[in-house]
Amino acid sequence: MTRGLWRLPPWTRAPWLGLRRPAAVVAVLVTSAVLACAVASAPLFLSSARSAALQQQLAGQCAEAGWGRTQGFFAVPPGTPPAEVIAGLDGLRAGWAEQGRRSERVLQVQRAVGAGGNPQAGMLVRDPAGAPVTQPATLFWRPGATGHVQVVDSLDAPGVWLPAGYADAVGARVGDEITVSGRRVAVSGVYTDLFETDPGTYWCDHGDLYLNLVSANVPPPALVLATDQETFAQLAAAAGFAMVTEQVPADATTLSVTRARALAAAQERAARGSPAPAGGVEFLGGGWNGRLDDAIGRAELIAAGLRGPVVPVAVAGALLALALVAAAGSAWVDRRAAEVRLLAARGVGPVPLAGKAALELGVPALAGAALGWAASRLLIAGLGPADDLDPGATRAAVAAGIAAFVVGLAGAAGVAGLRAQGTAERPPGAAPRWPSRVPWEVALLVAAGWCWGLLQTRDAVVSDGGVAQVNGLLVAFPLLAVAGAAVLLARLLTALLPRLRRWAGHRGPAVFLAVNRLAAARLATATLLAAVTLPVAVLGYTATLTATSQTTLDAKVGVQIGATRAVVSVSRFAPTPAIDDVGTLVVRYDGSVAAAAGEGDGRGRRDVQVLAVDPADFASTAFWDESFADVPLPELLAALTGPEIDGRVPVVAAGLPPGDPGLRLGRAPVAAEVVAGARVLPGRRTADPVVLVAAGRLPEVERSAGAGRVAEVWTDGELGPAVDALVDAGGVRSRDLEPADVQQTANFLGLTWTFGYLSALAVFVGVIAVGGLLLHLEARSRTRVTGYVMARRLGLGRGTHLRSLLVELGGVAVTGLALGAAIAAAAVALVYRRLDVDLLRPPTPLLDVPWAAIGTTAAVTVLVPALAALYAQRAADRADPATVLRE
């Protein structure tokens, strides 16, 4: 009989019958889209994060870091004709050509055969008169090199261009001839030394050729530019060596890991597959761009760290969406109640009924899955870390979308079949079935407890190669706990509805009607309450932890530097008003104190960092968080200006007890007394205690004391004015301290993106909750409108009805908001102390509650039900009583 059923009109015409109930079609379409979006977004997000991690790393380097590059070092026999030299160096280019890529060449001679026949750094240069010049030269050729310098003087002729400073040293002018590695060459141009200009991106990757990056006593060889390859080849043959770089430019701002990997593989193949040089040129060795490999490796590491937290989040989202699809299947039964009941009453089993549902809902489910996939693609493109996705991720997302369609349709049809059968069999007023009374959500709480237990034995945040990675348990635990607690609390609260209903019997009509509506639809009320509680709790949790980790990171950087930025100098100079204007002067000493038993270096001493500060302006510039001490920083600094204690200078310390610490700066003893303490003090750069002392009260410390004196200008503003102030005061700038020098931003991307993805899930659930609210209103609109129309006749005022809707929907929203906030607060309190992204640097995690985000969430949570109430009221007002009450 069952086989024959499929040939009957209710099944053969099912795909068209479904269209007669647009509400059910729309519900399945939308929920299938939500499901497909949830599952497809995970691979897309991971790919997007991988690309962004790669791009952000490369963005901090010269453009060439993201290019394909092969390099070779060659020995060039003296006297080799230029054409033969150039042909001999062509091997690397041929390697790229075999990969189907065209490369750009950079030629250098950084060493030459010396007088004794041994290689030496740079090429020996003689002035026009033939006298040797002390500073050797590096020969450089790259297409357009002479077009990327500031020209002092030039001729349109082949030869070499000298930096102006070197031309002066050599005593050469344009038109003269000098000798480079024993070969005469014309000086056809002079350009401004690159270190005196902002040379731009063209020279970015060649900084080692013109800057003294390692602060060596001897400056690097002068950068001499060859005007053409032939000139270069002549001089290379004279020097005996040449270095060739063949580079394939790539736009690092749009690079995906797949493309980067392909480029990296291509450069390796190009390097390995390069033919041996022709002629007498000999290949000595070579390599390829290792920075690209490093960036790819780190991007993979960041993405791998994300996978742990993202997968459970995606699974949670998918399960939630699947429940929605199943609910849409249930809604189909309601919308097709008459036919479904008739078929069930005539003995049609759940399988054919499920099949009928699948046939009716198949097309909208497929359309929904396609829409969901497209939505996930658009969302990642618009809101994801980067829009450059790996092709594999797109294929995975398509597969996920197809799986979502199949599983979603099976779920919707299965629920529809079972429910259709049950609806026909259950009499009105029958008690709910036992499964609905079992608190299944307790299983979620048990699982959350298990995760929490595991988390106690593992680090919440681990650092793999400097990359911070969130333990997946840190995401799974709150998700499970929040979901379980939200549903359990919703169940418990809705269990109180009968009592609330009795209470409402003594209240006005608005409250009475609202409470009765909530109590009559207890399951819907519990679902709505959980649907509000869940996103509020997850958003509160993720927003707080994101803000906390960012604040903690900033604080670690602030403590490390002491302020936003600092300029360091080893020279001695006095504070000036200009320094006071841009910030404050801090003099840092290597000090030591008498060690307690069991501490110190074995000689009874323990290292400390001593900061001599100006108590008048230190507090206004130094980084400070109120958690660092029990009293404000100005109050601590006031202690520095207090009277001496038995002839000892008052100091403030972090990590030292009150009293005489036995302080020494280097070997010089300083009579000091710790009069106030703090948990953390700004400027702490090592694990040693920090001591603040008023600079004006510190005795002069001789250089011979070995106190490692360093002066620092701390500033909250830009670096430039601080540098100017330091130089104007007579200091020599040694180095700068910027936030990026302290923490590599890319290393913490995984952390930010993990919570960002979790926040996206919360917003996703919030959108679902809003959709659910509208579906709930729509599903009950008929009975609501009928009741409203009749109640109007009975004496119900329009305003009273609107108030009742506001109480009903607003009550659920506000209760959900309160529950969500409480659950989020509890989860944050449990977790945030374990979210230390850098255990080596103080301070420990600083709780930062993002009130603006929480306020926005609260406002939206209250606004949406208010708008929904107005919508429902409008729909009720537009109803025609005669039509409504005749059906």
Binding site: G429, L513, A520, T786, G787
Partner: protein, 226 residues
Amino acid sequence: MTATPSGGFTATGLVKRYRRGAEQVSALAGVDLEVAAGELVALVGPSGSGKSTLLAVLCGWETADEGRLAYRGALAGRRPDTLGWPELALVPQALGLVADLSLADNVLLPSRLRGSPAAGQPRAQDLLAGFGLTHLADRLPAQASLGEQQRAAVARALLLAPVVLLADEPTAHQDRGHADRLLDAVADAARAGSAVLIATHDEQAWARADRVLSMRDGRLTAGTSA
């Protein structure tokens, strides 16, 4: 518990037309009708004859295209859509119970919306008991049978002893015993002074009515005179 009902209504030449696609349908084609206070009038006729439309016009949910409707006595000069439940109560075909309220709360709702639920409680309990609904009082409409819901709708209409009572097929879903109890209650309301008009196919209702009016194609065809 309420003032003694007085009045009734007179309808003269009521016409109501609808468009159904290109076709124009006359649901009421000149109905003349008078129902006096204390009178129970039964309106019979086949489905689609215009009974429900007539009740909708009489209660003010629809407006006649032509003709005149006048309520008398204390209701004189009032438009039907401005009349409150104590003045004009009705039992529509779809019953119009509030789905989220129990049967007892539905019956008591007219009193509650007037701010005096306690005052209506005894009468509501009497009606529930009289209609055999006491044991179902806490059930929602969806948890009761259609007949039980219908009895609750009639009880709600009778709660405030209305001046005019209009009921559309009030016994359609009842067994004989419950139908009789409903008709007794409606007849009691008429005896108490209400002007009662019921559209019905129930022959027992015809027997209890003071008058029976027959309707076909939007016109009263028999028993028009009082």
